[in-house]
Symmetry: C2
Subunit: 352 residues, 2 copies
């Protein structure tokens, strides 16, 4: 891993740039700048006070002028559009980064290394293209053995995409570690992989190997740690992504689940004609479809209240979510994973 | 499509060779021989009386000696091991076929066209390698619109792998056509694709595109036909393959489901430590996990009674299965999809 990174998040920072925000919040590298041509502010802290600060630039040329020759090691594409394509309006930034000898990292379905221009530029300037969504070559089908590992396994599941499963996973691991647990995250998506430095982008593997890819990661991580938080993806009733969700659920064979939801979300993001079921219905769905492979229960909930301005209203929303799923709930970012909101202790609920 | 085919089914014919048997039963090409080195009989009809007959040979050389120069156009790899690998003991047969100018077709995860020796031999002898499991390059995520097509869509779902979903789909389409319906199958697996001559092997697509691949096929087929039977895969609670199952369910957005089961199957095939839930529980699982994307019901059942010798006992098993799922049931191969077994008419139930 290189040390100084720039993050591309054009038009999306901060609200729709979960990879960018995840790296700012949880990554251990210095972020020397964020690229957003719609520039919501001059610095990150003006729009996101609770993460690592950095200047916001309209393009890579501006950032390079600011940090100087050799002042940045890596450009990370920090936004992931639906479908995972490469937006050609980002091309000048990637080009400028490579010309400046900067590696480029992306988690898109479109592989930068297969782009002729980028491959040639990387070659010319001696830098690397990392496509973190490219799966290992040797994946295979699940054997149904993840349930046998000598570790407590928790899986974050969601009511939808982009409700905070990666964030909840990170917060749970951090809080558990603070309490002395030997805990680790099993990353399954591009942001988690970029933060943790390992993992498989499960949505990019061959469909038949979805559960198998997760099983292998759980087996590997259980060799090293006693408590695992597997990062879930999508939602069990998502019109497009449910396959990935269920493959992770059956592949991980978790001991318990944390249901993640975004307060106020009423329909599937980007598929507005599909209303979300009630939280309690999700509990039934996840538990009943898991049971024949692995008996598991929704032991806790994580509510993303970033859409609620008022702190008291946010606390009430967390408490109501806990009631709806009949389990302890928290907003791990806003209030911490260790502060029970009237319904119990989330970390204790999943790591008894 | 070529006309005269040989089918490789070493050690598996007929009971564990579903692709081979499917082509013999439903394909419209002449099968000039089956390869099984454990040779259960001299001819197909001795072990499978109700399908196209053909001699059984121990290897490709024996078959070629029998049919003579130019007597076979295509060798089909008609068995699909768990994991979809290429068994190196089949290499001499594929080599002999290519040397004789015969195309080779396979539905494995391992692509013959990427095997150096096969690619070279095919090139030298002017023949082709078809990997039907290789997905189209331009797949994408589902838009959640298959429910809007102007066709009645039925999906065959299963209690497990290898319970007869492909066969039930074929039989339903045949019987519906006999009754005058403009019906067609939407093939999602290698056998169906080999029989129908089109389709996408959904288990081989990028996990994120599972539902999208099926959606596209349903949209295309609905342009041509009024009644569609989508071939399901795996099972909703299969430890390894459930991702594919759910992607098809949400991608196809079917109007109704046909639950397929093999009489006497009590545990997941190849995963014997996982007992199968009761048929009625499958009905609840499929319907409840489908509902938020598409309200649908299990409208009929297909029971594979090939493991029951006694005809009367088989009829009783079909009736009991119908009772268990509270819908009309049939064994479409043994008794026909149009013969209700005391519980109603299967075709009428799914195509009202």
């Amino acid at each position: 891993m290189t040390d100084r990174v720039a993050i591309l998040a054009h038009g999306k920072f901060p609200d729709s740039a979960k990879t960018a925000v995840g790296i700012l919040r949880y990554g251990d590298r210095e972020v020397v700048g964020v690229l957003d041509r719609d520039r919501p502010a001059d610095r990150v802290r003006e729009v996101l006070p609770d993460v690592q600060d950095a200047p916001i630039h309209p393009d890579m040329d501006s950032l390079l002028a600011d940090v100087g020759e050799g002042g940045v090691d890596q450009l990370i594409v920090g936004i992931a559009p639906i479908g995972g394509g490469f937006d050609d309006s980002w091309r000048p930034d990637v080009r400028a980064a490579l010309a400046a000898g900067c590696d480029v990292v992306a988690g898109l379905h479109y592989f930068l290394a297969e782009d002729e221009e980028f491959a040639r530029l990387a070659d010319e300037h001696g830098c690397e293209l990392h496509d973190v969504r490219r799966p290992p070559e040797d994946l295979t089908v699940s054997e149904g053995v993840a349930g046998d590992v000598d570790a407590e396994v928790v899986l974050t599941v969601g009511t939808d995409c982009s409700v905070g499963k990666m964030t909840a996973s990170q917060e749970l691991v951090r809080t558990a570690r603070d309490r002395g647990y030997d805990a680790a995250m099993v990353p399954t998506g591009q942001t988690g992989i970029m933060i943790e430095g390992w993992g498989v982008a499960v949505d990019r593997v061959v469909s038949d190997f979805t559960a198998g890819a997760v099983e292998r990661m759980v087996l590997d991580a259980a060799e090293e740690h006693d408590y695992l938080v597997v990062e879930g993806q999508g939602a069990i009733v998502h019109p497009a992504y449910s396959a990935v969700t269920l493959g992770i659920l059956h592949g991980a064979m978790p001991d318990s689940l944390v249901l993640c939801h975004a307060a106020g979300r009423e329909a599937v993001h980007g598929y507005e004609e599909f209303p979300l079921p009630d939280p309690g219905e999700y509990v039934d769905l996840y538990e009943s479809v898991a049971a024949p492979v692995r008996e598991t229960t929704v032991a806790a909930g994580a509510l993303n209240t970033s859409g609620i301005d008022d702190g008291e209203a946010a606390r009430e929303a967390v408490a109501a979510f806990g009631d709806a799923i009949d389990a302890p709930a928290a907003d791990p970012v806003r209030f911490g994973a260790d502060e029970p909101s009237g319904t119990g202790d989330v970390v204790e609920a999943v790591f008894p």
